[in-house]
Symmetry: C2
């Protein structure tokens, strides 16, 4: 299985970037993982809706019809870490070869992206700063594969 | 109001420590906040239960009867960021002057600590690495006060 982590804009916070790089390295021991991003729209004169629309176009350009797409969204489904690990197991059993995780920018993502999702995943009822959410997601992916491999990391 | 953040052990991950220091600085513009920790038990020959017991003694030594205590616990109550901000408002209205947040170590906290809590707070159905959970909690506290002050941070 190959995982792709798609963010809107590069991670601008150096510390969060280093944390994420560490998890990429750790997850890479279990499964192939790749980070990529679309440009964050920064034209200040645009409305939030117009910004989201442009970012959404860029996201959808990066997704093919056969991709399995997981979008982080506060209104999505919450899972325990154990259930999240089972989710990967089910995907593997179902023959899914590539999973793309999408994390929106400061404004989130618009409906065209959420409606394309095979899974809307919520990390919390709380709204997380989007870069911190990326680090949390990667930690959960690492935890999920640790659980599947029966490693000691998860307690 | 004064906030106290009590962790088991110092934050060992340098990046997470820097993120937390940044949030301490930002929260400090709204409210007095202080970090302190109890020693993490590292005697390898002890069982998990014995380690938790020792850490629990140290935590309880730091809490007085009049403290308002919030313990991070996966089985606790989940709140939206908006409800979490209202919680601070209610505490202030209720005349609470000090709030102590407790974040356990790798093993969490034992029942003597959770039963002392005025609030068991869950950040997620997922199990977060405890240092990352500290960063997430601080971001939520910062977000809560930003909401109360009507600042632009929270969307």
């Amino acid at each position: 299985m190959k995982l792709r982590i798609l963010t809107v804009g590069k991670l601008s916070n150096k510390q969060i970037r280093l944390i994420c790089e560490d998890y990429f390295h750790r997850i890479g021991r279990f499964v192939s993982i790749e980070a990529f991003h679309v440009k964050q729209e920064k034209i200040a004169s645009l409305s939030d809706g117009e910004i989201l629309d442009k970012e959404c176009d860029r996201i959808l350009d990066k997704i093919t019809a056969r991709d399995h797409v997981v979008v982080l969204d506060k209104s999505g489904r919450q899972m325990s870490s154990e259930i999240f690990s089972e989710y990967f197991n089910k995907l593997a059993i179902g023959g899914i070869k590539e999973v793309t995780f999408i994390i929106g920018g400061p404004l989130g993502v618009d409906e065209r992206v959420t409606s394309r999702a095979d899974l809307l995943l919520s990390l919390s009822n709380m709204t997380f700063q989007h870069e911190l959410a990326t680090a949390v997601l990667l930690e959960q992916i690492y935890r999920a594969f640790s659980i599947l491999r029966g490693e000691k990391y998860h307690k």
